[in-house]
Every structure is written in C-alpha cells, then in structure tokens.
Amino acid sequence: MIAVRTPGRRERTEKQEEVPSAGGTIASSSDLKAGDRVVYPKQGVYRVTGLEQKDIAGQRLEFVKMTREENGASVLVPLGKVATIGLRRVASADDIEGVFHYLGATYDDPELDWKVRHRDNVERLIAGGVLGVAEVVKGLHSLSRLRPLPAKERELYDSSRHLLVNEISVSLDVPDVIAEDYIDYALMPPAGVKLPLKPPPTPVELKGPPWKRKKPAASEDDDDLGLAELGIDLRAIEGAGAGEAEESEESEEGEEKKPAGEDEEDEGVPVKAAAVKAPPPAKPAKPAPPVKAPPPAKKAAPPPAKKPAAPAKKAAPPPAKKTAAPAKKPAPPPKKKAPPAKKPAKGKKK
C-alpha cells in the first residue's frame, strides 16, 4: 500500500505530483461571475448569484452575493474581501481523484497532541483546499482507530465529513450518500478489495495565521523557545480551535468569520459590512480578530524564525515547527475546467 504523509507533519516540500493537489483560490472578485460555484471554507458550496450594492454607514459598498446550495441561505461578501476569505473554486474531478488516492493511502501516525491537532485541523479546513478537508477526515478517522474521539473532535470529524461529502457530491455530480460511500470505500475498503491506488497528492503547505508566524527571532533552539512561549500561544490557539469547531455548526451563514482573513491588508471595508447575516464580529474565542485589529500584543515580537521546519515532532511545541516555515503556498494553478453543472435541486428537505 502507498503511504501518505501524516497530517501531523509539516515537512511538505518534496514534489510528488502523480495526481494534482488542491488549489483554485479566488484571488479577486473579478474572477467571479453569476452561476459560479465556489467553496467558502468551513461553510460549504455556494453559488454566486451576482453583484449587489448597499449603503452601509454612509458608504456605498459593493458585494458579491452568494447562495449556499445546501439550504439556500444567502451571504454578501464585500468585493474587497473576496480575496481574503479563502473562497475557492469547487474542486475539479482531477482534484477529487487525488483526494481518493489520499484517503486510500495508509496512514499510521496520527498527531497525538490534541491541541496541535485541533489547531492544525482548523487551519486545514480554512486554507487547505479540498485536500485539506480530506486530511482532517483521514487524520481523525485514523485517530479513532486508536481511541474514541473526544466530543469536540467528534463534532469536527462529522462537520469535515459533511464538507467533504458535499464538495465531492457537487464535483462528481453524485448524490451525497454515494459521495460518502466513495469516501469510506477508500478509507475502509471491503474485505478482499484492493484499491487501484496511485501515489497521493501532497497537501498544500499552509501559511498559518500570524500568531503562529510571528515568532521570536532568536531561534537557536526552537524547542526551548517554543516551550517558553507555549502557555501564551496555546491559549490563543485553543480558543481559536474551540470557536471554529463550534461555529461550523451554529453560525453557518456567518460571513464575519473571515476564515483566511487573518493576514489580509486592511482594505478599508468596515468589518460590520461584511455580511448581511453576520454574527457580531470578533468572537471572543477568536485569536486573531477578523479584519482590522492589529496582531495580538504579545506578538509584538520579532520576525519569523528562519530555520526550516524542524523534523522534531511530537515533543516540540506546536508553533515551533510550522512557524519556522515561511509562508510559501504556491499560487494555485488555474483550474482545468469548471465543475460540471449540476441540477440545483437535490431533493433536500431543508
């Protein structure tokens, strides 16, 4: 069987491009047109319905209007925010094929530190593309082989599964139940079945939000430094994780969440204008306040550590590893083709 790099690890540098890895992030609102189907990280598949203007607090703002396919809920995203919330194209059939080869690969080393795991998983859902979602499902699935998942991760497992099912269903134009069968056929093939696996795609290297990237410079000894910092960082991060995991169920149309917006520049759009149905901005649990707020004070510190990702793993404190790697997610390749248009009505009740 083919082995897959475990989601716990971050040393994802070598190329192994038998099947393409995910991409397709939408860089600008000009890349969108009515009818496009896009994935809003942690929320699901939306269809762009058009542009809309609104006067908010004396300003005339332009929004992209999108409708969530699953339940018809609408959100308005300010034009200037399109690039920063992590919107991406629905995965192509090729991307999805890579997902299955990834799911079917062996996986033997789940990250055991739940804090690291949870934070990484949240990050994967936001910025990892469809393969990031698959990483979360596979990682938690593998962990569940060892022991039952704690409640919060059980929820995350279910909501990531939901997102993955949804995107596969849209991309391959099959009903959700069939998409889920495909997923589990790869994760736990029936006795006697040998899957025709190819080498899996490599998950994208994640940038990580600022609270992880801004590390003390003196990184002679990453581990020790990381440890010293652990208390501070982890509190912020746990909060993030907890908040994210819960949000995914509760405030589904919340556009304010700004999944990938942490490192955006201020574009002068008032936060509150972000969405019609938005919950109040800046959830208490959020480590990095959504739009304009400066990075947390404790991070007033120094530039990113220069060391490349250290292979030391479990023992090392979470931030040390990833922050070390400079943000270098490659620009996603242009999509080969638009996902197949699918009849909007799927017979869903709600």
């Binding site: 569940s144 069968d181 997923i183 589990d184 056929y185 736990m188 029936p190 025709p196």
Partner: protein, 181 residues
C-alpha cells in the same frame, strides 16, 4: 411517521420486528404501507438494479410533510462506479430527504431456524436505521457498533449491532425535533 413500503413479499413478523425497533431508535411512529411493484426500469443489463433509479422511480405512497418512506426490496442493487471502484450497495437514501431504500440481497440467508431469522431481522433493522439515518442528515460513523458505520466495513461483525451510538443518536434526535418544529 416512517412508512415502510415493500417492493417484494416480506414476512409480517420481520416487518413487525422492524417497526418496533425503528420506533425505539428514532421515537417516530412506523406504519406498514404495504407492497408496491418493483420499478423494472431501474434494472440494468447485468440484472442488478440501479439503486438511485430504483429509489427515484419507486411508486409514491400517501405521505405527509415530515414522513419518511422506507422501501424494502430483495433485488441486487448497483451503485455508480466511483474513482476507486463501486462501493457495495446495501441500499440508498437521499441525504436529508425523505426516501430510503434497503435491499436484503447481501444479507445472510434468512433460513428457517429461530437463530437465523433473528440475525436476519437484526440486519434488516440495522440497514434500515442506517439509511433512515441519512434522511436525518446523519453521516457515517467510525464506531463499528453504530448503525451508521458503513454496511460493508471489514470492521463489522457477522451479526452487527443495530443501534445508533450516542453521537449519532443525539444528532438524529436533534434533527427529528427540528423537523417537528
């Protein structure tokens, strides 16, 4: 209300056992709506029945807004082939919808002994709970003791449990409550 529709002859005792257990599992009343004809159009050249088409074409029965229809058949079902192959079809359902289908084709033979009939009934119940669970938006579950664990999983014993685990039960109860309001 769950309305059971048979697409081939089923033993009354089996349906009674199923109804009783479904009520226990979901807290939703169950009614046997009787037999309807098998939609022949869903038959493929290889003799199997396209699970999606069969469920789509199965004759409707009188139902109300929140009702769920559970179709039972004994024919062999086929799933559309996926990127890695065709997952074995034990049934089908419209996620979040109102129609589910279970086939007994892959079950161990019902036999005539008390023990074999008991195993058959338990499996019928398990698969019914599984596909009805999809109607209440349940996803698959990693716990092999839960009815939402994939039906073909190598982790399933010969005579698997037919209840939902705590997570799936809670979730289904929330969905059922939500649907009622």
């Amino acid at each position: 209300m769950i309305r059971i529709v048979t697409l081939s002859p089923f033993d009354e005792g089996d349906i009674a056992f199923l109804s009783k257990t479904l009520y226990r599992s979901f807290g939703v009343g169950t009614e046997n709506a009787g037999e309807r004809s098998l939609p022949r159009k869903a038959e493929q050249p290889d003799g199997r029945f396209d699970a999606l088409k069969l469920l789509e074409d199965a004759s409707p029965v009188r139902a109300f807004a929140d009702d769920k229809l559970l179709y039972l058949t004994d024919v062999e079902l086929a799933n559309p082939k996926g990127p890695l192959g065709e997952p074995p079809a034990w049934g089908h359902a419209v996620q979040g919808g109102d129609r589910a289908l279970v086939s007994t084709f892959r079950f161990k033979p019902r036999g005539v002994t008390e023990a074999s009939i008991e195993i058959y009934r338990r499996r019928l119940t398990r698969e019914s709970i599984h596909f009805l669970g999809h109607l209440w938006d349940l996803h698959h579950c990693y716990d092999a003791r839960c009815a939402m664990h994939p039906s073909w999983s190598p982790a399933l014993p010969d005579d698997p449990e037919f209840e939902l685990d705590a997570f799936c039960r809670d979730k289904s109860e929330r969905r059922i409550r939500l649907a009622k309001t």
